[in-house]
Amino acid sequence: MKESASGKTFQVVNATLLTLIGAFMLFPFLYVFAVSFSSYKEFIQADFLIWPKQWVFDAYDYIFKSDAFIRSIFFTIYVTILGTIVNLLFTSSMGYALSRPVVGRKPVLVLVLFALLFPAGLIPTYIVVKETGLINSIWALILPVAISPFNLIVMRQFFLSIPGEVVESAVMDGATDLGIFARIVLPLSKPALAAFGLFYAVGHWNNYFGGLLYMNSPEKWPVQVVLRQLVVVNETNTLRVATEMVEQMPPPETIQMAALLVATVPILIVYPFLQKHFAKGVMLGAVKG
């Protein structure tokens, strides 16, 4: 199709604006990346660092020697893996059962829907977690968020879309519901499990509130809580908990940015997979009914 002159101008203006918007979204990451690898001198002199002239690794050296930071990273990896497994097990098994004409399906669905619309308050939930003895336990970060009601409903919708003949023929062959679920339905649901697994995993990795509420002792802080102390509250000595660091400390700014970046890396690693799967996940969400 031929483009008129004004059409071309429009294209150029539009593309330029979009490039600027993209830069606006990307620039903070580039800046944090560059500063974390810069010397203090360069950081002080330059206004807009996006590429260090001279690569300095002091900040990374420092945080990787810090017990507090490394501990929080490994703790969070552990929570993320264990939590996501629990999420997927609970959500898929309940979602599948509710996609079959099981006894009591209607009332249970109403129960789930009501929980979605009327979330229990913060304080009573906190008291229940406390009374069940989960404070300072890794399970406090996992059990209270074992199922997202919304994900459950979308996953049930996905199971409903599996052709009934598949299940029926398995029933003919004498398979039990458990066998059908484990051997037929789950393998067929890999895309959905991947999409929800990634969403749940990102949720665990990014969870700050749970750590703030339920983890009282600094040794059990998830990485987001440590980051908040370090960057937002500006308590650079957070990293020194239980570590005697005799060497000279690199400037706090570069340490903060190195820590931000290290905490972002896992997301950046799964991001390509997220991108591949989220479209499916979002579209699944769009066809609920």
Binding site: L26, F29, T91, L116, A120, G121, I267, M283, A286
Partner: protein
Amino acid sequence: MQFWLKRLYRDRFLILLMLPGLAYFLIYKYLPLVGSVIAFQDFSPFLGFLESPWVGMKHFAVIFEDYEIVQVLWNTLNISFLQIAFAFPAPIILAIMLNELRSNGWFKGILQSIVYLPHFMSWVIVVGICVIFLRGSGVINSFLGTYFGIDPIPFLSDPAFFKPLIVLQVIWKEAGWGTVIFLAALAGVDPQLYEAAVMDGAGRFRKIWHITLPALRSTIVILLILRLGTVLDTGFEQIFLMLNPFVMEQGNVLDTYVYFKGIVQSDYSFATAVGLFKGVVGFGLVWGANRLAKRFGQDGVY
């Protein structure tokens, strides 16, 4: 009776599959709902909610007399409406711009990857980056100082900047992600409509006005109605992370207020009453919003 026993036996494995999830809902969703009765007590953790004295509507009565809560409620609604006015249209505009981008598959692809990315960052990271940029010694202030000779502006502790910053952060984090649903709606538009419009002599903006926007109208209306149903929700993490003593009066919202009262000051009953108040009003709003959305001929959320 026999019929039911038979069905229970037939569905025994499905019931087994349902049990963990059911237990989850009962313990972590419904037990706290039942526990909300402490809003009508002077709850003491030592007595538990069976022994704590009942005080009726005492705590609810305070809600409407307390100056601080009026302020908190105002902040909540204010921030929410600012979000609706500024953060809500952002993805619509961005989606239209992306949609207008001609060919250039790779350019569009990279751009989309970039604008989706912030959505997956935690609020700690977003607020952390914001703090790094805006603090006294941050990039923005040193830039203003070097080139314009402006003294450092206390962006983070000046109450005037609090609400704009909250809205700006939401736009930065979620505008790109928000385009997904609008782009999906636009993918379904028949290209012949655009061709016909060109035949009729329509320019770029006429096409956007008469074809693109009407194609998005129902999605926009539904999302707007549903958004209005959650005006009392401002999210806890972002606002909590941005709060400091200087901006408390402008920034304290219902969610953070309940946290400070309940967890920090251990005023369980009163904080629960405020939470319950928010829950009941929120439930009414969401329920009403969903009915409205359905009336507009869409599925609604459930």
